[in-house]
């Protein structure tokens, strides 16, 4: 019964849309049935992704009557591939925004969806074959490493010892590290003592930092490369009562860190670099607005990573977001 009603309502709204379309050609509103496939909230960052995706659904469905958004979260790559099929056959989507769980294993499933005439925007983790997408929206991983390096180099006046913590061995992590090293090449007096994987995880970062503190007697700055890891780093420094470290630079602009910068609560935390999960919101919004107007997105959109300092921190503080 309900589905019949819904179909009738949908039919009626289509007719209404057609009528208005014929009435005012300038205001063409295309029916957009959008699927959003993202990883499940398993850590702070993906928690933010899920929150921002649902926020986008709420805001955009209100703003565009012809727009319907279905959000699906997956705990692993195979599950996400299944969801893509469901979105196509059950939800009959004509637009897809996908944050691939893994680049390589999702390429084929996404290509399949696109081959059925669905408009595809890929977010952040790219596909191995770009012909499987219409548009790509991502954060700027190069800037993520570059801004951190430039900031730390300036802060240390081009001289000192740095230790780095890395995320999970992935292409994004490599991009960030390469960008960081490229800048540091210009500062021969800055020594990168070591860079270890702490898996974007507080507990691992705590251990890695404890061991760094045991191993190196003089550390001037820490590139924690993530705000979650920075939390573990700070605790380890505090516990060891070390005073040689002047700066801990996280990354991603988690709300707790941004708040710390605004309040000036911790002298080790003075700056951060944005890599907000909000880019899923931007990607959904850009795609929806383009599709409603019947337009296309540029093939590549990079959401810039920006240096966050006390001056601009307010613009990056979203107290309602879980991240």
């Amino acid at each position: 019964m309900k589905s019949v009603l819904r179909k009738l309502a949908l039919g009626a709204s289509t007719v209404a849309a057609l009528l208005t379309a014929s009435g005012a050609l300038a205001q063409t509103q295309n029916q957009v049935n959008m699927g959003v496939a993202i990883p499940a909230a398993t850590h702070g960052f993906t928690g933010g992704i899920v929150w921002w995706a649902n926020q986008a659904k709420k805001d955009l469905e209100k703003a565009h009557p012809g727009l319907k958004i279905t959000v699906k979260t997956a705990a692993n790559a195979p599950e996400q591939a299944n969801q893509l099929q469901d979105l196509l056959t059950v939800n009959k989507i004509n637009t897809l925004v996908v944050f691939p769980f893994e680049s390589a294993s999702l390429t084929k499933p996404v290509a399949q969806v696109k081959s059925k005439g669905v408009y595809v925007t890929v977010v952040d983790r790219g596909l191995t074959d770009t012909s499987a997408q219409d548009a790509y929206v991502a954060g700027d991983n190069t800037a993520f490493g570059k801004l951190a390096a430039e900031y730390l180099a300036k802060k240390l006046n081009g001289k000192g010892n740095i230790v780095a913590l890395r995320g999970i061995p992935t292409t994004i992590d490599n991009e960030r590290m390469d960008a960081f090293n490229a800048v540091m090449k210009n500062y021969p007096d800055i020594k990168l003592l070591d860079a270890r994987y702490a898996n974007w995880n507080r507990d691992d970062a705590f251990k890695v930092m404890q061991d760094y503190l045991t191993r190196f007697k003089q550390i001037d700055a820490v590139w924690a490369a993530d705000d979650d890891m920075a939390v573990g780093v700070l605790k380890a420094i505090e516990q060891a009562k070390r005073t040689d470290i002047k700066e801990v630079f996280g990354g991603a602009g988690a709300k707790g860190m941004v708040k710390t910068i605004i309040d000036g609560k911790n002298k080790l935390i003075q700056a951060d670099v944005s890599y907000s999960p909000k880019f899923i919101y931007d990607a959904i919004k850009l795609t929806a607005e383009a599709r409603v107007k019947g337009e296309k997105l540029p093939p590549n959109t990079i959401i810039p990573s920006v240096l966050i300092t006390k001056e601009n921190a307010k613009d990056f503080y979203f107290p309602d977001s879980p991240f």
Binding site: A40, A41, T42, H43, G44, T46, G47, G48, V50, W51, R166, P169, D194, A195, R196, Y197, W200, N201, R202, D203, F206, K207, V208, Q210, D211, Y212, T214, R215, D228, V231, G232, K235, Q239, A240, G256, S321, P322, F323
Partner: protein, 352 residues
Amino acid sequence: MPPEPTDAVKQGAATPAATGGALRPAEPGTRAGGRARALLHGLGPVLGLVVLCITGTLLNGDFATLDNVMNVLTRTAFIGIIAVGMCFVIISGGIDLSVGSMAALIAGAMILVMNRLAPSLGSPTSVIALGIGLALLLGALFGLTHGLLITRGGIEPFIVTLGTLGIFRAYLTYFADGGALTLDMDLSDAYSPVYYANLLGIPIPVWVFLAVALLGGLILNRTAYGRYVQAIGSNEQVARYAAVDVNRIKVLTYMLLGICVGIATVLYVPRLGSASPTTGLLWELEAIAAVIVGGTALKGGSGTITGTVVGAVLLSVISNILNLTSIISVYLNSAVQGFVIIGVAFMQRRRK
């Protein structure tokens, strides 16, 4: 109560199906040989640890400093305490895959409740005491649920705990709204000594670890309950014939493990003052690895708490050494751990 429980169980344990072990009475003729074998077999992990420590000291002089030793022991405390509980479960022939998720959910629940109580209760000490009580209670309850599902429900422990592994973590993610649950600043300050303070120069978590291990050893070797656990793992059918209340003993082992997880969480929360969906990831495998490296057979029957403790320390020492040196590519860290686990297990393998 059965009239002579201990003797009955001993008979059960001495059946041909029973595997050899230090605690099991053997035939008089082979007793000396069995003991020597058991000693050698128990020495494997200790030997591994000694070799590792010497290597560590050679590679980096800071390895043997008191600070580093305390760091390693303190971080072993969580896994070590859980491993002591896990040792009981594995000896009884069971397994628990959910402990990491359980620790995460207990940590999350503790933080939620403590934050909620803080304004109305006022004194941080009583809030923390309630939080600790809650953690232990939740651990026991979760363990009870596991035990009942396994014994009364007749579901394999592997399946039950595989299910709860997902359930616990999902609920934490849900409570945390996908982000992190963070303890109130004031509470966090008041609570932090539980992790960071020292007693006679030794950090509190190490003391707790020691106490849990001693108590665990005592329960396993000196109580009727401990002997029942070994008997069930050796041969459940025989234990049943010997009038051991198998179901009750099994439920108790899962509760014991749950309480151990609760204790570990009580120590974990003050470290970073927060719980997120990555809290306790893979702890179950680390705890199981510690038990197995420590000489307990995965099929149950026999095992020692000492071995388990050594196993847990050994695993943390490996990652500590890898962090203190840069000889091996960071990509290969897990491989080194894997090699050592297999190597130690090989050294202390037993003939079957």
